[in-house]
C-alpha cells in the first residue's frame, strides 16, 4: 500500500520542527543581505541530496539502507552507518537540550531543565516504541491538529513587517559558502529515515521530492520574518530571531497575549516526532548489531536514556553551540557520503545485473 501521503506529512512536520530555530540564526549570521540566495542554495542542496538518495534507494526494491550496505560487507556498513549512528545520537541529545533551553527561556523559567528534557524524552520514547506504521499515523494526526495553529501564527507573523528590508535583492557576496555556520544551517534537514522505512512503508519518491518543495516558503519565512520585522542588524543580535519576531505580534481580538507560546509548542511537538524518528532509525541500526534476544523496547529506552543523560551533561548554551559546530562536520560527512554511496552502489548493482543478463 502506498503511504506517500503519510511520509510527506511527517517529512514536512519534522522539518517545520527544526527549521524555525537554528536555521534563521545561522543564515542571518553568515549572510548580510539578499538572504534568499543562501536559503535557496541551502534548500537546493538539500533537495538534490534527497534526489540522489532516493534515486539510489529506488534501485534496490524493498530493501533498506542496512540490507543494501550489508550486501557489500560488514566493513562498508560500519564505515557508513557508524558515523550516522553517532551523528544521530548526538543530534538528538544536543537538540533536546537546545529545545529545553529555549522552552525554559521563553516560558517555563521555574521548571528545571531536566524535567522538560525528561518529558520530551519519555514522549519520544513512547512514540518510537510503537511500530513504524503507528509513528507515521501519529505524525498525520499531529499534523491535522497542530498544523492549522502553525499556519495561523505564520500568517499573523507578517503583522509587523517592513517590506523595505527586503532590499537589496541581489548581492555578489558569496562568502557565506565558506562560513562553517552556513554548513550548520543545512542541518535543518533530516531525510536519512527515508532509507530505513522501506519496505514496511512504501512511498513514491517523486511525490516526496515534489512535495518537499512546499517547504521553501517555510524556509523563507523562518529567515525573512525576523529580518523584515527588525532589520538585518537587529535580527543578528538575537539568539532565536524568529521566536523574538513572533513575540512582537499583537492580536487585539485574541484572548492570548503571547501566541509565541503556541507556535513554539507546536514546533516542540513536531520536534518530539523528529526525535522519535531519529531514535527509531538508531534502533533499527542497533537491532542488526545486537543479538535477537534483546527486545526492541529495551533498545529504545536505552537510547533515550543515553540522549537524556548526555543532554543533562551539557553545561550551557555555549556548549550547545560548540557541539552543533562539531556535529556539523559529522553532518556534512553523513549527508554527502550516504546519498552518493547509495547512488553509486545502485549504479554498480544495475551494471552487474545488466552484465549478468
Amino acid at each position: 500500500m502506498d503511504r506517500s501521503i503519510q511520509v510527506i506529512i511527517v517529512h514536512i512536520l519534522i522539518h517545520l520542527g527544526i527549521v524555525f530555530f537554528i536555521f534563521p540564526t545561522s543564515i542571518i549570521d553568515c549572510t548580510k543581505e539578499a538572504h534568499w540566495i543562501s536559503i535557496l542554495l541551502s534548500f537546493l542542496l538539500h533537495w538534490f541530496l534527497i534526489y540522489i538518495y532516493t534515486k539510489g534507494l529506488s534501485r534496490f526494491e524493498g530493501q533498506n539502507l542496512m540490507d543494501i550496505y550489508l550486501q557489500y560487507g560488514k566493513l562498508l556498513t560500519a564505515i557508513f552507518l557508524l558515523p550516522l549512528f553517532v551523528y544521530l545520537s548526538m543530534l538528538a541529545s544536543v537538540t533536546i537540550r537546545a529545545y529545553a533551553e529555549t522552552i525554559s527561556l521563553v516560558f517555563l523559567s521555574y521548571t528545571p531543565l531536566w524535567a522538560t528534557m525528561l518529558l520530551i524524552a519519555i514522549i519520544s520514547a513512547f512514540i518510537s516504541s510503537l511500530d513504524i506504521h503507528a509513528l507515521f499515523r501519529t505524525g498525520v494526526l499531529m499534523g491535522v491538529i497542530f498544523f492549522p495553529l502553525i499556519l495561523f501564527v505564520l500568517c499573523m507573523a507578517f503583522q509587523n513587517v517592513d517590506w523595505h528590508y527586503v532590499f537589496p535583492l541581489w548581492s555578489n557576496d558569496f562568502s557565506f559558502l565558506t562560513n562553517p555556520k552556513y554548513m550548520e544551517s543545512t542541518f535543518a534537514c533530516g531525510f536519512m529515515y527515508l532509507g530505513f522505512i522501506q519496505p514496511s512503508i512504501r512511498y513514491n519518491r517523486k511525490k516526496i521530492l515534489w512535495w518537499s518543495i512546499t517547504l521553501i516558503p517555510f524556509y523563507l519565512i523562518a529567515v525573512y520574518i525576523p529580518v523584515l520585522t527588525f532589520g538585518e542588524d537587529t535580527a543578528a543580535k538575537f539568539y532565536f530571531p524568529f521566536i523574538t519576531a513572533v513575540d512582537t505580534i499583537d492580536i487585539t481580538w485574541l484572548m492570548f497575549d503571547r501566541i509565541t507560546m503556541f507556535f513554539l509548542l507546536c514546533t516542540v511537538t513536531f520536534f518530539m516526532l523528529f526525535v522519535s524518528l531519529t531514535v527509531w532509525v538508531n534502533t533499527e541500526i542497533l537491532k542488526r548489531c545486537l543479538p535477537k534476544t534483546v527486545r526492541t523496547p529495551y533498545i529504545v529506552i536505552a537510547l533515550h536514556l543515553l540522549i537524556f543523560i548526555s543532554g543533562i551533561k551539557i553545561r550551557d548554551l555555549q556548549e550547545v553551540d560548540f557541539l552543533f559546530d562539531v556535529n556539523a562536520w559529522l553532518h556534512t560527512y553523513n549527508y554527502l557520503v550516504i546519498p552518493f554511496s547509495i547512488y553509486i552502489l545502485g549504479w554498480i548493482s544495475r551494471r552487474k545485473a545488466a552484465t549478468a543478463v
Binding site: 516560558f107 518529558l119 499531529m142 484572548m255 507560546m261
Partner: protein, 447 residues
C-alpha cells in the same frame, strides 16, 4: 431409572417445570416443559388442532403412529439427558412416548419475554428511522435483514458456552467485508466456543483483545441504520442474545464524530455538525487543562485584562488551581455516574442539586472560582457531543491526562498530552486495521 424419571427427579424442586400425562390416539404420552417459557393454552390448542387433523386410525400400528408424531415435531434420534435438558431450557416442549420409546421435541407457542421494537434508549434520533435493536437476537437479525434487502447479507450463528449457553450472531456483507478480518473473527469464535460469552468484556476476551485498552474495540449502536452503514463499509456485526446492541467490529476513529444519520441532512449541515463534534472533543481535552495551565503555570500568556479578571475570581480560593479543578471534575463525574442509573423521577432532582445549588454555593463560599464553573460546564457539554456513550467515556478519562500534565508543565503539558493521545490513537489496531483508518463505503460511487 428411565430417562423420564431422571428428568423428573432432576427438576423435582423446580416449581416452573411441569410433566403431564396425556392420551394421544389411545396411547399414553408424557408432555414436559417449562411453564414460564411456553404459552400453554395456545400450545394445547394448536396441538389438539393438529391431532384432530392428522389421521389417527393407525393408533394400533406403531409405524404409522411414529410417522404422525414426526409431523408434530422433531423426533430425537438419540435422546440423552444433555440433549433433553438443553431442549427444555431453550423453551421446547418434550413429548415422551413409552411404547414405542420415542422422544419428540415440539416447538411450542413461546411466551413473549422481550419488549417489542421500540425507539433507541441510549441515543436519540432526529429525522431518521427510529426502530432500535431489542433484546431478542432473532428480532435484531430480522431488523438487519429489513434494513439490507440483499442476498449478500450473511448470518452465522454460534452457540457458545457450556454452563450457560448463549447465542451469538455474526453478520457481514459478502464481497464487501475484509477477508482477513472475517477469517480472524471466525477462527477465534470457533476456537473459543466453549467459553461462556454473555457480555461484551467476555466477547472481547474471546476475540483476543487487550482488556485494558482505553479505546473501544467495538462501536456499539442501537440503530439498524448505523449497523447497516458499517456493514456496507466492510465491517462485521456481532449480536449477543439478550443484548440490545449491535457490536460493530472494528471500531474506528470516525465513529466518534460521524453518523450515517447525519446524511439525512444536507451536506453542509452534515459537515458543520461533524465539525462541532470534533470541536467538542478538542474542547473537552483542552479547556480544563488550559485553565490550570494559565492560572498556575503560564499566566503571562493571557491578556492582562483577562488575567486580572481570572485572578479576581480566584481571590480567596484556598488551594491551587489543579486541586480546585480536580475536585469539581470529580464531583461532576459523580453526578454523571449517579444520574445515569437513577430513575427518571429522581434524576432531575439530582441535577438541580448538583448543578445549581452546589455550583452556586461553592462559588459563593469562595471554594472555587466562578470561571471554573463555566469551564466545567463547557467541558461536560463538550464531552457529550460525541456519538455514542461508549465514545464519551474514554474522552472523559483522557482529559485527566492533559490536566495532570498541564499542572506540571503548563501549556507544554497540554500539547504533550495531545501528542501522547495522538500516538495512542495511532498505535491502536484491530487485527491489523488501524483505529485511524477511514473505511470507504463501497457500493456507491458518489461516496
Amino acid at each position: 431409572m428411565e430417562l423420564v424419571d431422571r428428568i423428573r427427579s432432576r427438576f423435582e424442586q423446580d416449581g416452573d417445570f411441569f410433566i403431564e400425562e396425556h392420551i394421544w390416539a389411545g396411547r399414553p404420552v408424557r408432555v414436559m416443559g417449562f411453564k414460564s417459557l411456553i404459552d400453554l393454552p395456545r400450545t394445547w390448542a394448536n396441538l389438539q388442532l393438529s391431532i384432530r387433523e392428522a389421521d389417527w386410525d393407525g393408533s394400533q400400528d406403531p409405524i404409522a403412529f411414529l410417522s404422525v408424531l414426526s409431523q408434530l415435531g422433531q423426533v430425537l434420534s438419540e435422546p440423552n439427558e444433555d440433549t433433553l435438558y438443553s431442549a427444555l431450557t431453550s423453551g421446547n416442549l418434550i413429548v415422551c412416548c413409552p411404547d414405542p420409546q420415542v422422544y419428540l421435541q415440539i416447538l411450542p407457542v413461546p411466551v413473549t419475554l422481550h419488549r417489542g421494537i421500540e425507539q433507541p434508549l441510549n441515543e436519540n434520533v432526529l429525522q431518521g428511522a427510529a426502530s432500535a435493536f431489542s433484546d431478542d437476537l432473532l428480532t435484531n437479525v430480522g431488523l438487519m435483514k429489513k434494513e439490507l434487502n440483499t442476498e449478500k447479507l450473511c448470518t452465522k450463528m454460534y452457540l457458545t458456552g457450556k454452563n450457560t449457553p448463549r447465542k451469538i450472531t455474526l453478520m457481514y456483507l459478502e464481497g464487501q467485508v475484509k477477508p482477513d478480518l472475517l477469517r480472524e473473527v471466525k477462527e477465534r469464535l470457533e476456537a473459543n466456543k466453549h467459553q461462556d460469552i454473555y457480555n461484551v468484556q467476555r466477547l472481547s476476551k474471546s476475540l483476543g483483545f487487550h482488556p485494558w485498552s482505553a479505546l473501544p474495540k467495538f462501536y456499539t449502536t442501537e440503530m439498524p441504520i448505523e449497523a447497516a452503514y458499517a456493514l456496507r463499509q466492510g465491517r462485521l456485526l456481532l449480536f449477543i442474545d439478550r443484548l440490545p446492541l449491535a457490536l460493530i467490529l472494528p471500531a474506528l476513529v470516525s465513529d466518534i464524530f460521524m453518523m450515517e444519520n447525519d446524511r439525512n441532512y444536507s451536506a453542509m449541515f452534515m459537515y458543520i455538525i461533524r465539525g462541532l463534534r470534533l470541536a467538542g472533543i478538542l474542547i473537552d481535552l483542552i479547556i480544563p487543562a488550559l485553565y490550570v495551565a494559565l492560572v498556575s503555570v503560564n499566566p503571562e500568556v493571557l491578556r492582562i485584562e483577562l488575567a486580572l479578571t481570572i485572578a479576581e475570581s480566584r481571590s480567596g480560593v484556598p488551594y491551587p488551581a489543579f486541586v480546585e479543578t480536580m475536585l469539581l471534575l470529580i464531583v461532576l463525574e459523580l453526578i454523571i455516574v449517579a444520574s445515569v442509573r437513577l430513575p427518571k423521577s429522581i434524576g432531575p432532582t439530582l441535577t438541580v442539586v448538583g448543578g445549581i445549588i452546589l455550583g452556586q454555593a461553592v462559588v459563593q463560599a469562595r471554594l472555587v472560582s466562578s470561571l471554573l464553573i463555566i469551564i466545567l460546564a463547557a467541558t461536560s457539554i463538550a464531552s457529550s457531543t460525541v456519538v455514542g456513550f461508549q465514545n464519551s467515556l474514554p474522552l472523559r478519562l483522557y482529559k485527566y491526562l492533559t490536566l495532570i500534565l498541564a499542572a506540571l508543565f503548563g501549556i507544554l503539558g497540554i500539547m504533550s498530552g495531545l501528542v501522547i493521545l495522538c500516538a495512542y490513537f495511532a498505535s491502536a489496531t484491530t487485527y491489523g486495521i488501524p483505529y485511524l483508518h477511514f473505511f470507504k463505503q463501497k457500493d456507491d460511487s458518489s461516496g
